[in-house]
Amino acid sequence: MLLFLEQLLNGVQLSVTLLLMASGLTLVFGIMNLLNLAHGSLFMVGAYVAAWTTGVSGSWLLGLVAGAAAAFVTGIVIELVVMRRLYARDHLDQVLATFGLILFFNELVRLLWGIRPMRLDVPEALGGFVEIVPGAPYPLYRLAVIAAGAAVMLALAWLVQGTRVGMRIRAGSVDREMIGALGVDIGRLYTLVFALGALLAGLAGVLAGPFLAIQSGMGEPILILAFVVVVIGGIGSLKGAVAGSLLVGITDTLGRVYLPKITDAGPALSSMLIFLVMAVVLAVFPTGLYGRKS
């Protein structure tokens, strides 16, 4: 029972990372109709810059800010240089161009920081354990990640639902030509949305950094999981991203713990579990749980 509770929390913590990734992907897709494979690269940039900054300065907080800022700036640059030329193209062209960007970024970090994986330690202040129930110590940092992720998502929900910018974003996802005609500068709105998604991805990279080996190509496994989340939840829907990330994060974590105890084929089966879940969801809801019916 204690193991179950602990793993459930681990699952929620993975969900938070996925949600930060998936919300950016789904916003960018919903509003600009852009399929961005390079979203994982922004995750990687966040983690690398945070690890490097923390290593040089000794301050974890500075690393967090630097990592998120680096992803934000990288997002703005690739939006201005590459992405805005792709909005009018079909998904195939977008897949290819962003595939090229992945090759570039994966090699760039190798060039800058070498091929040896970097580490980002848990910040000292959050290094301890708390007893969630008596006799069950749980790492404080993981709880802090869950809390931070929830706070960021609430802030995002407020931004999208409660502000003028958010109103424009929502309007843009319904009919971008119309809001252009109403005098909204679409170009700036798109840059903003893309950079926002990049910021969230960078943040996810920093927060998940202590659990991962920070190395070239680290963004792609998480990107593919985030795709599964977006597809399950329904492309363009933030509500769907929340539901999808909880489903994927918890299923994946619990599957990895409990399936190997049931069957010998457990390790392979548990890696495949979420893709089976996705196939089942799509067989029933072809546009995802909260997707628009076509």
């Binding site: 998904h91 290819l96 090229g100 570039f104 970024f105 593919i224 495949m272 799509l282």
Partner: protein
């Protein structure tokens, strides 16, 4: 350039270049060209569903890897004289492993196609990607076949009807023969009613239905055929490298196949051969310049996508369009 020459030229290059290399005493170059042939075969199968059927699959590496493992698993059991899981003896002859790879590829592609074709557009891309990841992790989990490390076929490649292939050149021309055969079959299929229905469904599914066709069985059939051919390419790749690993199913291979199709020009089939020759040639060339070659290839791909629409065959058609009005109908996805 006239269409016939445009189609035949890359095949000629792949037939002549390894012979020249061997005569010049550089027979270590032959596998480089064989790789081009194998990737051209896989990319051509992808082009069939992408260019004609409008299905953008980012998961074809799964079939490639499965084909490779059909060869690897069969020959491991022969080398170790152990029976395969169902009590059958192992196999290490291409006359068995190639048809078997095709069959397994088709059998896996059928359910994958069925699930993926519940959706369209971006969903389709992401689902094929996710299903391929599932296969990838499944292969990593095959601990009795090397797990992460795969199978190193130190016992050598498959025989052909019991006889060992004499040299690399023989394997190369075997692969090239299969590539030509695939080209002829797929080209015929494009012109047959099967291909016309696929093409029609890509352009306008609602109208095809109004004409009384159900596109879905055609699309699933094409997807399965494509998966089978890619598995054959994977089986050949295993024989070229004498090595299989889950890496064959890595999603970057799916991406590379898409790049080859786009680079060559969508929907022309021979474009896949052009694309494979140019992309793999480019990779080899860039490797000579710097070990960090992806940092050059990445931006190059972006530039190609942004500025060279229609790919190489499109470019070649435009060169020849002064005489022949209009080129092939190479549509987008």
């Amino acid at each position: 350039m006239p269409p016939l020459l445009r189609d035949a030229l890359p095949f000629l290059v792949l037939a002549v270049a390894p012979v020249v290399a061997t005569l010049a005493g550089a027979d270590w170059l032959v596998p480089v060209f064989t790789r081009m042939v194998v990737f051209a075969l896989a990319a051509m199968a992808l082009d069939f569903i992408l260019g004609v059927g409008g299905m953008v699959s980012l998961g074809h590496a799964a079939f490639f890897a499965v084909g490779g493992y059909v060869v690897g698993i069969g020959s491991q059991h022969v080398a170790e004289s152990t029976p395969t899981p169902f009590g059958l003896p192992g196999w290490d002859d291409l006359l068995i492993s190639l048809p078997l790879a095709f069959t397994v590829g088709v059998l896996i592609a059928l359910p994958f196609g069925w699930v993926s074709l519940r959706t369209r557009g971006a969903y389709f891309i992401m689902i094929t990607l996710a299903l391929a990841q599932m296969v990838y992790y499944g292969l990593v989990g095959l601990t009795s076949y090397g797990g992460d490390d795969g199978i190193s076929m130190w016992w050598g490649r498959n025989t052909v009807a019991g006889a060992a292939l004499p040299n690399r050149l023989a394997l190369h021309f075997l692969c090239l023969g299969l590539l030509v055969a695939a080209f002829v079959v797929l080209k015929r299929l494009c012109a047959a009613p099967f291909g016309r229905v696929l093409d029609g469904a890509r352009q306008n599914e609602a109208r095809m239905r109004a004409l009384g066709y159900r596109p879905l069985p055609y699309q699933i059939g094409a997807f399965a055929l494509s998966g089978g051919i890619v598995a054959v390419a994977g089986a050949l790749m295993a024989n070229v490298d004498e090595f299989v690993s889950p890496g064959m199913g890595h999603w970057t291979i799916s991406g590379e196949l898409l790049v080859i199709v786009i680079l060559g020009g969508i929907g022309s089939l021979s474009g896949a051969v052009w694309g494979a020759v140019v992309l793999l040639g480019l990779e080899e060339g860039l490797k000579e310049i710097t070990e960090h070659w992806p940092i050059l290839l990445g931006p190059l791909l972006v530039v190609i996508v942004l500025f060279a629409r229609g790919g190489l065959t499109g470019l070649l058609d435009r060169l020849g369009s002064r005489r022949t009005q209009g080129g092939d109908d190479a549509g987008g996805a």
